[in-house]
């Protein structure tokens, strides 16, 4: 070992805590990486352990072919077979509602549903239903429902069967239309003896292979009796369960591939933090390194020993991170188990553990290279100079300027390429993937440019964003001066914060745009909570009046629909819905004109119709229905399709004049009370009104809710994963502040000596780390928002550009608070040091 390395290592051994502090970001990221591996392991195992569709007691399965109840009976009689369950389901209709009736024993080891209340359905006209079905279809135990189970060739229901609900059971799926009955009952209901699958449980000690061969022969014989039969396969239960589990594990794997992407970004962030930390640590040791140079150490020797120290740091922190993750991974399932749910232990994946440590070492070595080279260049003369406070470099080298500007130009060119290739409002055959990839590339280049040019950007950004701080008084001025005086340090930390904020703001802006788009489209496709439609049995005004009187409903708005032709003879749909009475339609986007201008002799047309007929606001168009026709003036042109799948909205009186009958073709209504119960109540009010009419009820609110909750969940997951990068950034700010406090202990002492109070010093250092957050968050917003806009445009879905100012402001404030919090501890420590000790420090 070289003398230089020995000196360095002795220094490390004397202050092992500093090694951990230097590599804290690496420690955190190793933890995150290995914890992700363990989480994947836990999820996979839990899924494998958990409910697969096939109960654990199933030993053999006959499936994927022609199976009938005859085979089921035959298999049940085979020696060695304890039980056989046939899987089949029947589709029924209650009024306009769909009901799925699944065959299941509901008891015993082969059951897939389990009794909650009431009793099991055993009789031929008995069913048990799932909890949501009780709520949705009003099928309480004890009630009798008329269900159409058989259909004629035209798909019209034949006479309904009366079924009695005897109990409530939980099954694997509950979509609100599940019922369970015994297998013979379901066969009778559907009038078919075809089975999807036969599950077999063997008697204890039975010869599995023997039974399997017998079943195989049995089903083969069964197929030969049927025309176009397909021979089923016979598999073991474990085989089927494994297949099902594999399919689920595959979902888990692809989910974790996405998570891995975010973890990779966090790794990059950790590398940036580590590099800046090493730079600070080596700068502190400049005098010592210069001394080594003065007594004869070579430049290369210094560089190598510093790099070796970096590798050691990576090894120690990587190992610590992996061990911590392992501890957490073993602990979490136990803690969760204490609250009930069973979660599998992740085991001890050795290879990923070693790889994670290796990653930590490689990452640290990569991070340490540049700082080590810079430190190796120290002049031996440094050692002989006074220990006065010296300022760090404020500028960047020429090469770095050129490199940074090239990156800016490259990023700009790629962005310009995307910009000129942006799709129009109604793109045809547009494939967004190339543009999206280009945006990612441009964003990456812009970020590299930010890293290169960071030190020169700090001061201008600080001049703009730091003004309030500087105005706040001498402490703020000193803090701003401290950050501006060491722009390299500030840039190194802020860039990591910027990375996090770029991703977050991009997500928020993109998410908000998509949400507005989804809202807009759902207000067109789902303008109300419920829609009642009919084809040939118009809804009379009395029924509408009754519904308007129901307390469960509000905004009950009927409309008529008429098939018309216009101008050049295109077949179009016209509706006379009163837009102002439907809240979601009142704010419909218009391309030109005003919806409020709709009156007698006026028409509001869709974008399609405007395009198709070459119409503009103020133009006249002749609308023809059968033998009648009338000229209408365009009052407004919508920016998208018209609601209720129509092309134009006309005034009710005009509709009558065009020959529309008095009865309504549909109505829209909202639930009066929010929530699941309000929705069911509203639906029941509609069901009551429908009675025996062939009117269909659509719960549009369900679709809308689903889209909304899916969006929210997606956004929450994305933000959670980006949180990793933010965590690393905050760690970076914390370590930088902690180390720079050590570096600047003399400066602190001086400030105390000339009359800065302890509290003010604390405030100054905390403000400094908050300023890192301000700069980083500012840069992040500047990068994130435009790129998100560009990406939204490039999607080609005609989404609006939104700026969720509130959310972005919250992100900004939170980031600044987090970075300020990261500076609190180091600031407290610095303020505790007595000025004499501080001034004496080297």
């Amino acid at each position: 070992m070289s003398a230089v390395l020995r000196t360095q290592l002795r220094g490390v051994a004397r202050r092992p805590a500093r090694l951990l502090l230097t590599g804290l970001a690496v420690l955190v990221v190793s933890f995150v990486v290995y914890a992700t591996v363990l989480a994947q392991e836990i999820t996979k195992r839990s899924v494998l352990d958990g409910l697969s569709g096939t109960p654990a007691a199933v030993d053999l399965v006959a499936r994927k072919g022609t199976l009938t109840t005859a085979e089921l009976a035959a298999i049940g009689k085979l020696p060695g077979v304890a039980e056989a369950a046939g899987r089949m389901d029947a589709g029924g209709q209650i009024g306009n509602e769909y009901l799925q009736i699944v065959a299941d024993p509901s008891t015993g080891p082969l059951a897939v549903s389990h009794l909650v209340s009431g009793r099991l359905a055993t009789g031929p006209a008995e069913i048990a239903v799932s909890p949501r079905t009780v709520e949705r279809l009003g099928l309480k135990p004890g009630t009798t429902a008329k269900v159409s189970l058989r259909f004629d060739k035209d798909g019209k229901p034949e006479a309904p069967t009366s079924l009695t609900v005897v109990g409530v059971v939980t099954g694997r799926d509950d979509y609100g239309f599940q019922a369970y009955a015994s297998e013979p009952a379901v066969a009778r209901m559907s009038g078919s003896d075809a089975l999807n699958q036969i599950d077999v449980r063997l008697a204890p000690g039975a010869d599995a292979d023997g039974v399997r061969q017998q079943i195989d022969a049995l089903v083969a014989a069964g197929v030969s009796k049927v025309k176009d039969g397909e021979r089923p396969e016979v598999a073991t239960g474990s085989q089927v369960r494994l297949e099902e589990a594999r399919a689920k594990a595959k979902d888990v794997d692809s989910l974790f591939a996405v998570i891995g992407l975010f973890v990779a970004i966090a790794v990059v962030a950790a590398g940036l933090v580590a590099a800046s930390t090493f730079r600070i640590v080596f700068a502190q040791r400049m005098r010592q390194l210069a001394l080594l140079r003065a007594v004869g150490a070579g430049r290369g020797g210094i560089t190598w020993s510093l790099a070796a120290e970096g590798a050691l740091t990576g090894l120690v922190t990587g190992l610590a991170g992996v061990l911590l993750a392992l501890g957490a991974g073993q602990l979490v399932p136990r803690v969760v188990a204490a609250f009930g749910p069973h979660v599998a232990s992740p085991g001890l994946p050795i290879a990923p553990a070693l790889l994670t440590v290796l990653l930590a070492v490689v990452l640290t070595v990569v991070a340490v290279v540049a700082p080590a080279f810079t430190a190796g260049k120290v002049s031996p003369l440094e050692a002989l100079r006074g220990a006065g406070v010296t300022a760090g470099r404020r500028d960047i080298g020429k090469a770095r300027w050129v490199f940074g500007l090239l990156l800016v130009v490259a990023a700009g060119l790629v962005a310009a390429y995307v910009f000129q290739g942006l799709p129009g409002p109604n793109p045809k055959d547009y494939n967004p993937s190339i543009n999206l990839l280009a945006i990612v590339a441009s964003g990456g280049l812009a970020f590299l440019a930010l890293i290169a040019l960071g030190p020169v950007l700090v001061r201008p950004v600080l001049a703009v964003l730091g003004t309030p701080v500087r105005r706040s008084g001498p402490v703020g001025r000193l803090a701003a001066g401290g950050v501006g005086g060491a722009p390299r340090r500030a840039a190194a930390v802020s860039v990591v914060v910027a990375l996090g904020v770029t991703l977050i703001s991009g997500c928020l802006v993109g998410g908000e745009s998509i949400r507005v788009l989804a809202d807009r489209q759902s207000s067109l496709s789902a303008p109300a909570d419920y829609e009642l439609t009919t084809n040939d049995d118009p809804i009379p005004a009395t029924a509408v009046g009754q519904l308007q009187g129901r307390s469960e409903l509000t905004h009950v708005v009927p409309y008529r629909r008429l098939a018309v032709t216009a101008g050049n003879g295109t077949d179009l749909q016209a509706v006379d819905v009163q837009l102002a009475a439907v809240p979601r339609l009142a704010g419909l986007d218009v391309a030109a004109g005003r919806i409020a201008d709709l009156g007698p002799g006026k028409v509001v047309i869709s974008a399609f119709m405007a395009d198709n007929q070459g119409l503009h606001v103020g133009d006249k168009v002749t609308v023809v229905a059968g033998k009648r026709s009338m000229p209408l003036t365009v009052a407004a042109e919508l920016s998208d399709v018209a609601p209720l799948a129509s092309s134009m909205i006309i005034y009710p009186a005009d509709m009558t004049r065009l020959g529309a009958p008095a009865g309504y073709s549909g109505l829209l209504a909202d639930q009066a009370v929010a929530g699941e119960k309000g929705r069911s109540d509203g639906r029941r009010a509609l069901t009551d009104a429908v009675g025996n009419h062939p009117w269909a009820i659509n719960v549009l609110a369900d679709q809308r809710d689903q889209i909304n909750s899916e969006l929210t969940i997606l956004l929450a997951i994305a933000l959670g994963l980006i949180g990793l990068t933010v965590l690393i950034a905050v760690v970076g700010v914390g370590t930088t502040t902690a180390l720079s406090v050590v570096e600047r202990v003399r400066e602190s002492g001086l400030l105390r000596a000339v009359g800065l109070s302890r509290g003010a010093l604390r405030a100054m250092l905390t403000t400094e780390s908050a300023l890192y957050g301000v700069i980083g968050a500012g840069l992040g917003l500047v990068l994130g928002v435009p790129y998100a806009w560009l990406a939204v445009q490039a999607l080609g879905v005609n989404a609006p550009l939104t700026l969720p100012v509130g959310q972005l402001a919250v992100v900004f404030v939170i980031l600044v608070l987090l970075t300020a919090a990261a500076g609190v501890l180091p600031a407290r420590r610095a303020a505790k040091v007595s000025p004499v000790v501080a001034l004496g420090a080297e």
Binding site: G386, T390, G481, S757, S834
Partner: protein
């Protein structure tokens, strides 16, 4: 606090005084008595040098008198206030408003310009700078042309002159200088010392300087000699020769 002052401190002209000041570092066997009952007064509008061999306690004495360090026993009086009994908050105010510092290694803030460094104590105190005094100081110190420069762009002598201006800008009751010429060449050192002496003569400033350089001490009106944490003598109107002689005799006694 105003009771029972010993003769040295009762002197109405004393701007700052130590009364039976004791400072012990560490405890038990390793305890070091850096100050062992020092009683000494520093006259207003006088330039006093504290001298003594290394380890004699001269820096500790200055730190205690300036409210930078706390004493183990005794009093450190600044214009009648006993600094050894004060909270950190009061000491901070004292340092900010009543004391000026000049350090051996300048200790300017690298991120501030020379002008900002000079005005720093006033800014911390929230006071408006006296432009007249500022102009006078910077002209007399010959740094008018360097005011917009940062410390890194100044020579050692210039940096120390900026530090001197910083110490004087708040019109402190006492200026403490800790080896102010230790890091300077002899010409720059002489300029700083001359300026300090002129500020005593012309502005009535009280200056207390710790030094081990007899040449620097010769600029002072009076020299207080310290040895082993005790006062070991005084020289009025010192010159290079008398100071060297006194130091030699101190060394012989030990």
């Amino acid at each position: 606090m105003q009771t029972q002052f010993p003769p040295a401190a009762q002197d109405a002209l004393a701007a700052v005084a130590a009364v039976d000041l004791v400072k012990v570092y560490g405890s038990g066997d390793t305890a070091v008595r850096a100050l062992d009952g020092v009683t000494v007064g520093f006259t207003r509008a006088q330039f006093t040098a504290i001298m003594g061999p290394s380890g004699s306690g001269k820096s500790t004495l200055m730190h205690c008198l300036a409210g930078l360090d706390t004493a183990t026993a005794g009093q450190a009086l600044l214009g009648g206030t006993d600094l050894t009994r004060q909270s950190d908050r009061v000491l901070t105010r004292v340092r900010r408003e009543r004391i000026g510092f000049i350090f051996q290694s300048f200790n300017l803030l690298p991120q501030l310009t020379a002008e900002q460094n000079i005005l720093l104590p006033l800014e911390l105190a929230g006071r408006k700078p006296d432009r007249h005094l500022f102009n006078h100081l910077t002209e007399a110190l010959g740094i008018t042309a360097r005011l917009s420069h940062r410390p890194g762009e100044l020579s050692g002598g210039q940096q120390q002159r900026v530090a001197v201006a910083r110490a004087l800008i708040s019109r402190p009751e006492v200026v403490f200088a800790d080896e102010p010429t230790g890091n300077l060449d002899s010409r720059s050192g002489a300029e700083v010392l001359l300026f300090l002496r002129n500020s005593v003569r012309e502005l009535g400033q009280t200056v207390v300087m710790v030094t081990h350089d007899p040449g620097a001490a010769a600029y002072a009106d009076r020299v207080v000699l310290l040895a082993d944490g005790k006062v070991a003598g005084e020289i009025d109107r010192p010159d290079h020769g008398s100071v060297t002689e006194a130091l030699r005799s101190l060394a012989v006694q030990r």
